[in-house]
């Protein structure tokens, strides 16, 4: 292994780690930027995505939890990973829409603290419900057959195929969302609504439908993150909460409501974290991402790509 190979490996692993942050942060950021809604349940959507992915992919043996007590021995229908990758975003999109209608909508005009309390409460309910039903132990998540094993890359040598898959899937999805926002009527209305929702309404445009879709898209991205992130680590009821903090850091570093910002910041955080871990400073990796956030926000309080005027 050469130094160059080490650096490239760190970069690729960083991109992959960052990709998960990006998937989470893009949704969180557009929901916060457009709807001015602070969604602490965004991690729960990731969690739901992971468990749904587990359910669709394979059959997980249950050893504890309420289901096991009831004599249900396995969890899952075993349709395979590709099915999960397609079905989970659709299901979580619908969950997101229901969440907007029945939870978020009544809190748009209320203070951030109320939004945080209700969504954090929701996240805890989802987390503890899963723990009670399925047990708290970690479940391994099978890798998709078409992307398991290593791939030989120039300079680096063998690299896990699935990690490249995560980067590719993230890139496609984020470009899709970006195109939607930049090139469609829907996107233009969403951008205008982000800048001045009151004026859009005064022009006679009803924003409730575009906002519903924004929430759904944000949720679906978090769901996908749960599926693609699943094979990289074990799945347990705590992963939603664990991912929420880096996702929020990514949003504030990148600038609220900025898709490009979420991408840059997510990749920065991922790369920094991986670099610290692979160079033997694993204990500093958490400290590192907070330090990076602090430095960026000291220099640019609105985030790297944020506008001067922003949501407080």
């Amino acid at each position: 292994m050469t130094v160059l190979a080490d650096i490239l490996t760190i970069l690729l692993n960083g991109l992959q780690q960052g990709a998960i942050y990006v998937l989470l942060a893009v949704g969180l950021s557009i929901i916060l930027g457009t709807l001015k809604f602070v969604n602490f349940a965004h991690g729960a959507l990731y969690l739901i995505g992971a468990y749904l992915g587990l359910f669709i992919t394979g059959q997980v043996p249950l050893s504890n939890g309420q289901f096991a007590d009831w004599g249900i021995e396995t969890y899952g229908i075993g349709l395979g990973f590709t099915a999960a990758l397609i079905l989970v975003p659709i299901i979580v999109f619908i969950i997101g829409i229901l969440m907007e209608r029945f939870v978020a909508q009544s809190f748009y005009d209320r203070p951030d603290t109320d939004q945080i309390l209700v969504t954090f409460g929701l996240a805890v309910i989802v987390q503890e419900l899963l723990r009670a039903l399925l047990g708290g132990n970690s479940q391994p998540f099978p890798q998709p057959g078409w992307a398991s094993g290593p791939i030989a890359l120039p300079i680096i040598g063998n690299f896990p195929r699935w990690r490249l898959g995560v980067i590719a899937i993230t890139a496609v999805l984020v470009m899709g969302v970006y195109a939607l926002v930049e090139y469609t009527d829907f996107g233009l209305i969403v951008q205008a609504g982000t800048l001045d929702g009151e004026m859009v309404r005064l022009l006679g445009i009803r924003l409730s439908r575009p906002y519903l879709v924004v929430f759904g898209i944000g949720a679906a991205l978090a769901g996908v993150a749960g599926v693609v992130g699943g094979p990289l680590a074990n799945v347990n009821p705590n992963i939603g909460t664990e991912q929420l903090v880096p996702a929020f850091l990514t949003v504030v570093i990148g600038g609220v409501g900025k898709i490009e910002g979420a991408v840059v910041a997510g990749l920065m955080l991922g790369t920094l974290q991986v670099a610290l871990i692979q160079t033997g400073y694993a204990a500093w990796s958490q400290v590192g991402i907070y330090a990076l956030a602090a430095v960026v926000l000291l220099v640019r309080p609105q985030g790297l790509l944020g506008s001067e005027v922003d949501v407080a």
């Binding site: 939607l180 009527d185 829907f186 233009l188 800048l195 006679g204 439908r209």
Partner: protein, 252 residues
């Protein structure tokens, strides 16, 4: 046809009667100016008409239908647009995008169908946006970021946004406030031209008498909440009550 009509329209703030039993009407195709010294009740009147304030009593009808009880955005959808006193544009978007949003609002306010079509693939919206930019003279700057326009052009864009809604009546609250003499003149020319081209009906609130006499078909003079004179520019100019109210020294 009478577009806007108020009957005995009154607004009291505590003991102060800001608008006092005002009867006025604006006919289709007419350019009407509302003038009066400071505190005459012009702003209150406009806020009543746009439904930002609730009348104490009296009625306002638009196109023959009472609008008392409607929300401000419903009044806009009925066909009454307002060019606002503070610049109301989306500064971070391009000039064309600003016009497109207004055109979308006019064509598809509720976004029921074709949600995800490419924003330039719907010709009616695109044409309307371009037409509006041409009529306010900003077509050449359609790619510029709205924020980078000078003050006069920002106000033009704002007028364009109001026009894109294809309003039956346009309310303009001091459209030349804060403009340089050159900008003022070009805005006045613009309003005259747009009125001619689009057969626009407008209700204008303006301090500057020169502008008012220049572009109005009819002038209504308010003083202390009441209509003290109404008529053509010549009639109003020669009305002794008006001369007294103004030359009485309240304001220019």
């Amino acid at each position: 046809m009478t577009l806007l009509q108020t009957e005995q329209l009154t607004k009291q703030f505590g003991g102060l009667t800001a608008v006092d039993e005002v009867n006025m009407e604006v006919e289709q195709g007419e350019g009407v100016s509302l003038i009066g010294p400071n505190g005459a009740g012009k702003s209150t009147f406009i806020n009543l008409v746009t439904r930002r304030l609730e009348p104490s009593h009296g009625d306002i009808s638009f196109k023959g239908e009472s609008i008392v009880g409607m929300d401000p955005h419903q009044v806009v959808q009925e066909g009454m647009s307002k060019s606002f006193q503070t610049a109301s544009i989306f500064p971070e978007l391009s000039v064309k995008e600003n016009a497109t949003i207004a055109a979308l609002a006019a064509e598809h306010g509720s976004f029921r169908f074709n949600f995800f079509r490419h924003r330039n693939s719907y010709p009616a919206v695109d044409e309307l946006a371009d037409d509006v930019l041409r009529s306010v003279g900003l077509y050449g700057e359609r790619e510029a970021q709205a924020d980078s326009l000078d003050y006069g052009n920002k106000r033009r864009l704002e007028l364009g946004i109001a026009l894109a809604a294809e309003p039956d009546m346009l309310l303009m609250d001091e459209p030349t406030a804060g403009m340089s003499p050159d900008e003022t003149q070009s805005t006045v020319d613009l309003i005259k031209r747009v009125k001619e081209e689009l057969d626009l009906t407008f209700l204008l609130v303006e301090h500057d008498m020169e502008i008012v006499f220049d572009i109005s078909d009819r002038i209504v003079v308010l003083n202390r909440g009441s209509v003290i004179a109404a008529g053509t520019p010549e009639e109003v100019q020669n009305d002794p009550a008006v001369q007294e109210a103004y030359l009485g020294g309240v304001e220019e």
